[in-house]
């Protein structure tokens, strides 16, 4: 995905934080997803963020190099876009 596009929570994604975990329900699919600490961190920061800013945030918060963080963040975003929980906006696909 284009690193300059912004990511947004999908309208059908309803979520709440429980301690260190975020639970998200997709209204469309009626499925609950429970994120681990890293996934929860990303979910809370991805609404309106670019891929680059998410990678930077992960590197700042967790002990991980940028290359690894980028692969993980891209995988996270791509998966949730495919599942309709995130939507990219702006820029070329």
């Amino acid at each position: 995905m284009n690193a300059q596009r912004t990511i947004h929570h999908a309208r059908d994604a309803v979520w709440r934080r429980y301690d260190d975990q975020v639970a998200v329900i997709s209204l469309d699919a009626n499925r609950v997803r429970l994120f681990n600490a890293v996934g929860s961190f990303l979910w809370e920061r991805c609404d309106g963020a670019t891929l680059d800013s998410m990678v930077a945030a992960v590197c700042e918060r967790f002990a991980v190099d940028e290359g690894t963080a980028r692969v993980d963040v891209e995988g996270f975003v791509d998966d949730l876009v495919a599942r309709g929980l995130l939507r990219p906006e702006g820029g070329a696909p």
Binding site: V14, W15, R16, A23, L27, N30, V32, R33, L34, N36
Partner: protein
């Protein structure tokens, strides 16, 4: 663990409710025989007042908001209320009889983005449904609305409480649900009316008939009965005070639709503060089967379902056994055993011990004996601290008449989202 259980578990861990029922209308366009509500006496809140209450519920971290009435669609501002709730990040369900939902209204509901619309449909036979609602052509209108919603991809759950007026109902609705692509939830819940009148019970189906209809299943002790009992004792009979919180049309907060004490006035306080300050919180958070005297010592416990509020109104004790639940457990066990014999109460029981109420000991296959209902000092302390759970009989707050045959409530599973762990 399914998605609903997971969310309940996460919410319980943090001491916050998973969901809240918000009753926005104190009126209805149906007049169902079994309805527990008394309408037209509470009054309704304005849109702005409801928004402030919704804000408070959102601030408390609640996940799902079930918007109901009375009949919620009678409010001209219902769509605005639903949109506001969605804007506050809730997964919103609408509970309705769908009588007023036409094609345009279905368009608007689809645009709001609801988790589900729950529709009461009492029978697959039009005449039976109309007999329950006492509104001619209500079946036709409701099924038309369901069809309109489904055409727009709105998830619809059909709910069918069993009544004597709709004996062919459950099977017919189940087939209709399949045809329309809806989930179906049959239930045997019929509770007394809010004012204590037992009119809804005039249409209650007997346990024997529920068994014949397949709405109750035979039960026999399992090979590892001790484990089954231990597991059940740790479970909650229902979601009262946790996932079943109800905001009445005037903003008062109840622990469930049927538990009659008022926890707070949400026009005056946000939900989180109200719960924090409600002494009953301690009661509801610990209200597993192990807190229910009599039931916890009964050999039929694994066969049992209960409604605390029905226990209060039927037997005068919110935390004790009551006849209609016991009757259903006996019927389930008798069906599995082939027959059931109830022996005289054990010698340690008080004179006049009612054999229609547990606890029971299974003394041989198909043979049970009523045994002593042990109340511990902790039970008594709880009843003293929360006097409403066992009010004095002379207070007139409860109806102690027993009607035979009786039945209790069965908690039906709510729609169950799947879980994915990431």
């Amino acid at each position: 663990m399914n998605g609903a259980q997971l969310l309940r578990s996460l919410s319980l861990r943090e001491g916050r409710p998973m969901g809240v029922h918000l009753q926005v209308a104190d009126r209805c366009n149906h007049s169902c025989h079994h309805c527990y509500q008394v309408q037209g006496e509470k009054g309704e809140l304005s849109f702005d007042q409801l928004c402030r209450i919704i804000d408070g519920i959102a601030d408390a971290g609640v996940f799902t908001l079930n918007v109901s009435g009375g009949e919620a669609t009678l409010r001209p501002d219902l769509l605005d209320i639903l949109r506001y709730a969605r804007g506050r990040g809730f997964a919103v369900r609408l509970f309705t009889n769908a009588f007023l939902i036409d094609e345009a209204y279905a368009d608007a509901l689809a645009a709001v983005g609801l988790l589900e619309v729950h529709v009461s449909l009492y029978s697959g036979v039009a005449e039976e449904h109309d007999a329950v609602t006492r509104v001619p052509h209500s079946f036709e209108r409701t099924v038309g609305a369901i069809t309109a919603l489904r055409r727009r991809g709105v998830r619809v759950v059909l709910k069918t409480p069993a009544t004597t007026l709709s004996v062919r109902g459950a099977l017919g609705v189940e087939a209709l649900a399949r045809e329309l692509g809806c989930e179906h939830q049959a239930s045997t819940d019929l509770t007394m009316r809010e004012d204590g009148a037992d009119a809804p019970w005039a249409v209650r189906v007997t346990p024997e008939e529920l068994l014949r209809q397949g709405m109750l299943s035979p039960w026999a002790p399992s090979a590892d009965e001790a484990r089954a009992r231990a597991e059940k004792l740790e479970k909650y009979p229902c979601g009262v005070g946790r996932s079943g919180l109800v905001v009445l049309p005037d903003g008062r907060l109840q622990a469930c639709t049927d538990t009659p004490n008022i926890l707070a006035d949400l026009t005056q306080a946000g939900l989180a503060d109200a719960l924090q300050q409600a002494p009953e919180r301690e009661l509801f958070e610990g209200l597993t089967w192990s807190r229910v005297h009599g039931c916890r010592d009964c050999d039929l416990l694994p066969a049992c379902h209960r409604c605390h509020a029905t226990a209060l109104r039927e037997g005068g004790d919110y935390l004790g056994p009551y006849a209609s639940a016991c009757a259903r457990a006996r019927v389930r066990y008798g069906a599995a055993a082939g027959s059931l014999e109830v022996l005289p109460p054990s010698a340690d029981c008080a004179p006049g011990r009612d054999p229609a109420v547990g606890p029971y000991a299974i003394v041989a296959t198909g043979v049970i004996r009523p045994v002593h209902d042990v109340r511990t000092p902790a039970d008594e302390a709880l009843a003293q601290r929360f006097a409403w759970v066992r009010p004095p009989v002379e207070s007139g707050l409860v109806t102690l008449r027993r009607k035979a045959p009786l039945q209790s409530s069965v908690a039906q599973p709510s729609s169950v989202p799947q879980v994915e762990r990431v």
